[in-house]
Symmetry: C2
Subunit: 198 residues, 2 copies
């Protein structure tokens, strides 16, 4: 059992690789099958059609978001909570699998309605909820200036998204990412200085 690797999962992995490179249209069933090491027709034993492969990949993009335990408690620590969040965000940015899924997201965002829907409703939404909840608590505890916590969360997250995009672009061409990726930490410092009351 441990040696028997799932062909279906192999197909998904190969498809993610190829879509991240060539987009959905460019990632042909032929290429996917070749990468897995089977014939095109064998693909159809695992998926009804090509579209079904994409659907499953899209589902993968939106699993395992940030799941912080005890946000209520951690938020009281103020800046260190934000730092912890950004460290997690940075890790995801450099995670090989997550990076590929991020590319798929950006490439197909304007071409796939379901993906678009999930992005607008889930992608940052979950992060925003957590961060805005944390900001709300920080406001109550007099750690930061008052304001709309949701909007503040957007302001906090948008630069992270933009840095992530830049890092992903640089990594495709094998360019150095340090100048950009250090902005993650700088962003926390800048933001905290912007909102903190101390």
């Amino acid at each position: 059992m441990p040696k028997q690797v799932n062909t279906k999962q192999k197909i998904i992995e190969a498809a993610i690789d190829l879509i991240a490179k060539y987009g959905y249209r460019g990632a042909s069933v032929r290429k996917i099958a070749a990468e897995v090491g089977i014939r095109e027709s064998a693909i159809y034993n695992h998926f009804k059609n090509k579209e079904e492969i994409l659907k499953q990949i899209i589902a993968e993009i939106f699993v395992t978001p940030f799941e912080f335990k005890n946000v209520e408690e951690k938020a009281k620590r103020g800046k260190s909570f934000l730092r912890e969040f950004v460290v997690a965000y940075k890790l995801i940015t450099f995670d090989k699998k997550k990076e590929k899924l991020f590319r798929v997201l950006v490439i197909e965002l304007f071409q796939n309605a379901a993906l678009r829907e999930s992005f607008l409703q889930e992608f940052h939404q979950k992060d925003i909820q957590q961060i805005s909840q944390a900001f709300f608590i920080m406001m109550q505890n007099g750690l930061i200036r008052s304001g709309d916590p949701m909007f503040m969360a957007q302001e906090f997250l948008a630069p992270l998204f933009y840095i992530r995009l830049q890092v992903s672009l640089l990594r495709i061409d094998g360019k150095p990412t340090t100048p950009v990726s250090t902005q993650f930490e700088k962003h926390v410092d800048f933001f905290w200085e912007s909102v903190s009351l101390q």
Copy 2:
């Protein structure tokens, strides 16, 4: 002469439309020709091949950035300069042609090396230069707290890019954009409150 419309330009326009919808691979020479109202073979009288059409479109993405005159003077006005900048940015976000080019940018960013290069070097770079220059002057005039003007410019522009992305996504599906687009103005207020010394 005024009535004689350029076929070459028509091809470009049709290609932008179709690439914004289906991506470069999905925008076939066939579809482009059909949209223009000519045969595929006629396309090749104007462009060497399909790739050449994309090249010209990419070039269009990076023309006419923000060209503010007298940044030195305007920067002294502080917040109102930022407000003026964001008004221009918002206009571009809702401009039909620019919006399509923005979609092409996002779709092809991970798939076209030349586009990626230009994006990293030019897209925000020009904006960043202007904004950071303005921040530098504001610092000298004691309007804002001191810091790295380049980094501050990134912090100012990243949320604008993210709002633009959201607006573009909403507009595809004909969804209301007001809740998101009002963030443009809110962002200026929030940012100014973050950096101003008054």
